[in-house]
Symmetry: C2
Subunit: 426 residues, 2 copies
């Protein structure tokens, strides 16, 4: 496939180059050449599909580093409670009613929303991840999936939880679909015993997987941890050896200076979730002070959408509020957090996150004449602060997943009818 005469290519390469009027040659799901069509004549065969991109802005597919995709079916069920009440009163009671089908349909709806706003990869934590994987596969997206684990400090449950998680991991590995990757996802220190955390660590080590968990999301999580375990959550995880694994922490709001230093000495990433954190009045992540930062939406139940363009904008605005400083969080850095830094957080920076020769072709195509992107004094600024996320096309590993604003791999209208029925059950 040849994306011909792309008006702008936001490469997100090391030099953050923005190329103008260049072609992108895609073969076997990868970017083979970036340049002018005459120069790449030798690589063209008759089979190549030519796509005129003279009115398109091409961006790397965005990476949403923290989701609970199936919860798309819970959009708007609870808007005015803090995390504890929201979970205990409105979310967890409903989640007792969910099943594999719920998770399949919910994830498919979430995938539709992510694709239509330019996201090609997500890092998910939920139940029934076999069904989540089925939906992700159907949609054509790239993802990381973990079976959420909590024992609520009931030692009798721990072993079974780990066994179940390992069984799910094996199923994902058996899919042999390199777009779908397993992770290990203990929920948080609020809900997991030391033993569960330790065994999670060992499970991640055994299969060399990413550990993904909620971390220091609320002040209560920190004070409870101090009271019950004598140390703050990050220190507990460090002492239990979890931070020696590949690790990624969601939210990361309540850190003291010692913890920020510890974070910045390590390589693992904190996932900034600005909308969810503000909506639940959990606080604001000290994103500006963190060296390794990616971004996520959390679920629509606390956001209430999966639009990373909106998340980037609010991500900057909230930092300026927190630090009362207009230089808090640059436009380029927040765009990095949703592209190349997101890839780095998940350990896939050699494959995706930027548009470079040899990398996989995970791309978003945007109409340059979109009213929110004009005039074009500063293209990154327009994408971050003004654009509403309505991309025209999305390519994942060289295949269209969105074409002319329509989902390619499933019937969205039919899905919306289907999911409306779950509303009655909840």
């Amino acid at each position: 496939m040849l994306l011909r005469n792309c008006r702008f290519i936001i490469t997100q390469n090391q030099k953050r180059e923005i190329l103008e009027n260049k072609d992108i040659l895609i073969e076997n799901g990868k970017v083979m050449e970036i340049g002018n069509v005459t120069e790449m004549g030798n690589n063209l065969s008759k089979k190549d599909e030519f796509i005129d991109c003279s009115d398109k802005i091409i961006i790397p597919g965005l990476i949403n580093c923290h989701t609970h995709a199936a919860m798309n079916l819970l959009r708007g069920v609870s808007d005015d409670k803090n995390l504890q009440e929201w979970l205990n009163e409105d979310i967890w009671p409903r989640e007792t009613k969910i099943n594999g089908e719920f998770c399949y349909q919910g994830t498919l709806l979430a995938a539709g929303e992510m694709l239509l706003t330019g996201t090609t990869c997500f890092n998910d934590m939920y139940f029934h991840i076999g069904d989540v994987a089925r939906a992700a596969d159907k949609s054509g997206m790239r993802c990381f999936l973990g079976q959420v684990m909590f024992d609520f400090f009931d030692g009798e449950k721990t072993k079974k939880i780990i066994e179940d998680s390992e069984s799910e991991i094996k199923k994902i590995i058996d899919l042999k679909n390199e777009r779908i990757n397993p992770t290990v996802t203990p929920h948080s220190v609020e809900t997991c015993s030391d033993e569960l955390l330790i065994q999670s660590r060992d499970l991640a080590n055994k299969y060399n997987l990413l550990l993904h968990m909620h971390l220091s999301e609320t002040e209560k999580e920190v004070t409870d941890c101090l009271k019950n375990r004598g140390k703050r959550p990050l220190i507990l995880l460090d002492d239990l050896g979890l931070l020696k694994n590949k690790f990624i922490g969601a939210h990361g709001i309540h850190f003291n200076q010692e913890e920020i230093n510890l974070l910045n000495q390590n390589k693992f990433f904190i996932i900034y979730n600005p909308c969810s954190n503000a909506k639940l009045a959990s606080g604001i992540c000290p994103a500006w002070e963190l060296k390794s930062l990616c971004i996520g939406t959390d679920s629509v139940a606390s956001n209430n959408n999966l639009n990373l363009f909106e998340e980037m904008k609010f991500g900057v605005l909230l930092q300026r509020v927190k630090y009362n400083d207009v230089s808090a969080m640059s436009t380029q850095r927040i765009f990095d957090s949703a592209t190349i830094e997101g890839a780095r957080a998940l350990g896939i920076e050699n494959d995706v996150g930027s548009i470079e020769i040899g990398k996989k072709a995970d791309l978003g195509l945007i109409d340059k004449d979109n009213i929110f992107l004009n005039p074009n004094h500063n293209i990154i600024s327009n994408l971050v602060y003004s654009f509403n996320g309505a991309v025209s096309d999305v390519i994942v590993e060289g295949e269209f997943a969105v074409r002319n604003k329509e989902i390619v791999n499933f019937d969205l209208e039919e899905l919306i009818e289907k999911v409306e029925k779950f509303r009655e059950i909840l």
Copy 2:
């Protein structure tokens, strides 16, 4: 015109009723009936245009209470400065280069963006308002327009400034276009002498017009006013008699308790501008504590768009951050601020702001199958927190201004080409 079988009508009437599967009959620009088509048979003539709305959500056209529309041409020119530096270094030097044509084209682009996101009325403050009025007229929008005034405490300029403003007001009155209304707009206490403020008051009195100005936007504005005039901005305006007029204050961030009490004893409105205030690190308006609240986007130069749906969402999120309380600002109240309360702020609550018999037909139509609005557990929540603003149709005073996502009254593509040329001048 008959909007037939509307799936949902968000009336925003006193009871905040949401009607299902009802028709709306529009005649002479007004809502004549809301009910079932059989019941309104007598009012139907053959001329009536029937619009199937069985897959539409109908909302009152949104009201943007603080804009500088022509500044749409300055989108993205300066993203990382505080209000003073942003004005002095990046905005005012560019504004010396603008002319009537700039203001016409810029306002037309702004009108396109507002219409495509469901806004039917805006309250503007800028230069060359005759040209702003021409653009507003062309677009079909409803608006309030004021020629911005500042004398920078140079007493020799004051008289001429007021004369110019009066001359512009007369021109707008002479248009005899009831959609286009003049206002009196002294810029702020930072830039206007007492004499200019007093004469502004008298000018507004003379023609019975709304006074619209920036108020307590930054801490510096308050400390300068205290230092130079011995009182805080709101108290200064009160003492000069401006608050006895019809008055509306933009931003309204830095108030002490005495000022909040004064505001709540009066009837005039504060315009909450969450995105602009956060982006310029000006602070957060105490919106939750104010009785009379409407909402605005400010200009795209500090936002960087005019999408009131995004503004509503971020408006709630910022209140939760400010007060560290999930009950800060309800979903319904922020929706009110962009509809019926916006109308009240501008003194046009008997004409627009809700969908009721006898009111003008200023309406937004939204596809109920939009992915951001499903599932539909709570329709107001979905509109405020999830929807990206892409309405399908807009009606102003009974006439389509947007039809099937296309601007009706001007060629957007041609306009975007035109405005790109201004970029070179700036």
